[in-house]
């Protein structure tokens, strides 16, 4: 990590812009879980269902009324509401 290099912060900006909350992803988008904002039992549950750091995710579908969404993670399909997905941060591949 070379903080003296002016390009470093530029790169940081680029990386930051690639990170999105899971609910912002469109159908067909995929990426990797980088972090989870917030605490509590929901977070634990989501992690146990496979949303751990580094896990690949892909948004497969959105329900007819716009919510919930279907996501592929750890090789299986799971649905969650957008309000629950907003805490999961994804680096888009």
């Amino acid at each position: 990590m070379d903080l003296g290099n002016p390009k470093f912060f530029e790169r940081m900006e680029v990386i930051k812009s690639m990170i999105n909350a899971l609910n912002e992803l469109k159908v067909g988008d995929s990426g990797v879980v980088v972090s989870y904002k917030g605490k509590g039992s929901l977070r634990k549950h989501l992690m146990e269902m496979g949303f751990v750091r580094g896990a690949n995710v892909e948004v497969q579908r959105v329900a007819p009324l716009g919510d919930p969404i279907e996501v592929k993670v750890k090789g299986y399909s799971i649905s969650l509401r957008k309000e629950e997905a907003q805490y999961i941060e994804i680096e888009i591949a």
Partner: protein
């Protein structure tokens, strides 16, 4: 014969029930875990000189204390020490499935891994090295196909083997050196201070690092855990600094890391994801425009099959019970004993078994929907609507739709909801869906007062029921069910062909459970009400002199502010508790309609012929819905059977001018409407309350349901009557 106790564990939707059914066949028993609403299933079978007792643990993704199911499973493993735990995992979904396996290894469970659905995994291109996996995990791994008994023999052999020489895998899971080290450190303290705890000390240490509320609480209660708890807290802080995150998140990461290592070495995943059959089906059934119409169509078919196909069978039961009653009457003659047998006993039994057709059909269909995987999609499609309007889970839609046929199957369908809060809330509002048993009451009152506005009045009542349900749900959500609504984190399993055997077994065990648990309640109360109607001895059944008549007379003034303070209305409301359509036949008796056909009128006798089935007093809410609508002969359960030539001409109550004018004398149009509103909303019928008792495993909820619906009905009817009066209606 030696006994072995095994437990089945696994994620939901991996074929656990199928394996359970295939092992135990019909030798199984379904109930509840003591004091819990979680279902308990056990069964036995014999194998090679052993009697093997099987407990089917709830389907879980994990053994955290996230849900009641998880706690129940965990406590069972810790406290009951089953000889062997068979962990069923889905071959094509190993990574997530092994998460539970790892947690059971932490608990020191004596495991056999049953790798299920290998054919499907092969088709998808998975190559699993079973020996390697077994070696890495340290437990036997057996390939099975639960649907067709493939691998059954080998599985049973493995079970016997590990029951004799248990495998020791407790230290096999690795979390990385940092965490491993601290677990060891804490484990020592646990061993020193609280060695009497049943669970393995390494597991207790691990749970303390995860800050598991249940375990922390247990240790606090033991009174000797101060040192352990404070040390755990210190380590958690330390780990938090290192990982920049909570220790429990780091541990979850580490478990998945351990699993990723296993998979790396033993499974070859397909390179490219093929478009699966499930995916193709989902493109249609969750389609932006087609998804909802398809869902509604499937609901409509479910409704039709449950109630329409069930109806003729219910009519047959009705007719059969009627004939039995007649035979008894003919054999014994009139008298107290006959009345008890016919009106009390046969009526009560009829009131129970008349529910068999719709309930068996419903459970068969629910099993098909659930096992095929569609139920999860239905919830997916409807969730936003249900969540926005009443704050419930998408799955709540199905019980509510069924409620329009009959609340009893509606209540029983709530068991597809995993979350207890959602389940109870749904149970409390399902009875507001206007069921088919209310239709005869509407038909009668409409014939007397609202012939010109038939459609409007009917529609307004159905709509009112829905509106009240939405309002009540909103109120309960912010009061007794306060707190965040359940998350909609739900697996969408691949579509699978449901097996006929599985669905039939499911239907059978539910049906029998219904008969055993609810049947006794319905029968008991039916007999009680018969007694109240027949006492004091010598009184005319259900007349004003009987105990019920006196009760009606006493409570009648309570209803005066609603516009129907006459004792007849109060008695009708009282009997309506047995089943709502009985309101009509009660009026029939009280106004002496049909006396020409029967010497001893009673509310169970129809207004029409003496041959009529006599058990109506005890209910057949679900039946005759279509019939009632088409022929406008609501209180006739079995018009077909009775259409046969008979001596007396049949007159439906709403076509009987004498009856109609009697009703017109009792109400004004306004008070009649208030009465309809009251009948729609007040106390769910006896069978519904019995279903709530059964599903919640407590008397509290049915009692609450009865009390609050009475209050709601009273308030709404009051507003209708008093408001209408103020506006100048009469």
């Amino acid at each position: 014969m030696e006994k072995i106790r095994i437990a089945l564990a696994g994620n939901p939707n991996v074929g656990k029930s199928t394996l359970f059914n295939s092992l135990t066949g019909m030798r199984q028993h379904v109930g509840n875990w003591p004091g819990k609403t979680v279902e308990y299933k056990e069964g036995t079978f014999n194998y090679d000189e052993y009697e093997i007792e099987v407990i089917d643990l709830p389907g879980n993704y994990s053994l955290t204390a996230y849900s009641m199911e998880e706690i129940v499973s965990r406590d069972y493993i810790v406290d009951e020490h089953p000889d062997v735990i068979v962990n069923i995992v889905e071959a094509a979904n190993l990574e997530r499935n092994l998460y539970l396996t790892v947690q059971m290894m932490e608990l020191g469970a004596n495991l056999v891994l049953a790798l299920n659905m290998n054919k499907a995994a092969d088709e998808k291109g998975f190559k699993i090295d079973v020996d390697k996996l077994s070696q890495l995990l340290g437990i036997p791994v057996v390939r099975i196909e639960a649907v067709d008994d493939t691998g059954r023999e080998e599985l049973l052999k493995s079970i016997l083997e590990v029951s004799k020489s248990p495998n020791n895998v407790i230290d096999r899971v690795e979390y990385g050196s940092e965490i491993d080290e601290h677990i060891e450190q804490l484990e020592k303290l646990v061993k020193e201070d609280i060695s009497e705890v049943d669970a393995p000390s390494s597991w207790t240490a691990l749970k303390l690092l995860e800050d598991d509320s249940e375990v922390v609480e247990k240790i606090r209660e033991s009174g000797r855990g101060q040192r352990v708890l404070s040390e755990a807290k210190k380590i958690r802080g330390h780990l938090n600094n290192i990982f920049g995150d909570d220790a429990d998140a780091a541990i979850t990461d580490a478990r998945y890391g351990f699993i990723a290592g296993l998979i790396q070495e033993s499974v070859k995943k397909p390179k490219i994801d093929k478009v699966t059959r499930s995916d193709l089906i989902d493109r249609i059934v969750t389609h932006k425009y087609w998804g909802i119409p398809i869902f509604l169509l499937i609901m409509w078919i479910t409704f039709q099959i449950t109630f329409t196909i069930g109806a003729p069978f219910q009519d047959l039961i009705d007719a059969g019970m009627g004939m039995l009653g007649d035979a008894v009457s003919a054999g014994l003659g009139e008298g107290f004993l006959t009345s008890f047998l016919v009106d009390g006993l046969i009526g009560g039994v009829g009131g129970v078994i008349v529910f068999i057709p719709p309930i068996f059909l419903l459970f068969f269909l629910l099993a098909l929907l659930e096992d095929s995987g569609y139920l999860a999609r239905a919830a997916f499609v409807m969730d936003r609507f249900m969540h926005k309007t009443i704050g419930l889970h998408g799955k709540s839609f199905i019980p509510m739709i069924l409620g329009f046929g009959c609340a009893v199957p509606g209540i029983m369908a709530t068991r597809t909801l995993e979350n207890e809060r959602d389940r109870f809330l749904t149970m409390l509002i399902v009875p507001f869906m206007s069921c088919s048993a209310r239709l005869p009451v509407y038909t009668l009152i409409i014939a007397a007062f609202f012939v010109a506005y038939q459609g409007t009045v009917l529609f307004s009542l159905y709509l009112l029921g829905i509106v009240v349900a939405v309002i009540i749900a909103a109120i309960f959500k912010n009061t007794i069910f306060k707190g965040k609504s359940a998350p909609f984190v739900m697996e969408l399993p691949p579509y699978r062909r449901p097996t006929l055997k599985g669905s039939l077994i499911h239907m059978w065990e539910r049906g029998v459970l219904f008969l055993r648990k609810m049947g006794t309640i319905i029968l008991g109360v039916s007999i009680l009400i018969w007694a109240l109607s027949s006492l004091p001895i010598g009184v005319e059944y259900a007349s004003q002199d009987s105990v019920t008549g006196q009760i009606g007379t006493t409570i009648a003034p309570v209803f005066a502010p609603l516009g129907f303070g006459e004792w007849q209305a109060a008695v009708a409301v009282f009997y309506g508790f047995l089943a709502k359509e009985v309101v009509v036949s009660t009026f029939g008796i009280l106004y002496g309609v049909g006396e020409e056909a029967s010497d001893e009128p009673d509310p169970s006798e129809e207004a029409s012929s003496g041959e009529a089935p006599t058990e109506e007093a005890s209910a057949e809410p679900a039946s005759g819905e279509e019939v009632a609508a088409q022929e406008a002969s609501g209180e006739e359960a079995a018009p077909e059977e009775e259409a046969a030539p008979e001596e007396e001409e049949e007159v439906a109550p709403e076509e009987d001018q004498g009856f109609i004018s009697a009703i017109q004398g009792l109400f004004t149009p306004l008070s009649a409407y208030a009465f309809l509103v009251f009948v729609l909303l007040y106390i769910p019928c006896l069978a519904t309350l019995a279903a709530i008792k059964r599903e919640t495993n407590s008397w509290r909820w049915p009692a609450f349901s009865a009390a609050y619906t009475f209050v709601v009905a009273y308030i709404v009817s009051f507003i209708v009557y008093q408001g209408g009066s103020l506006l100048g209606f009469a």
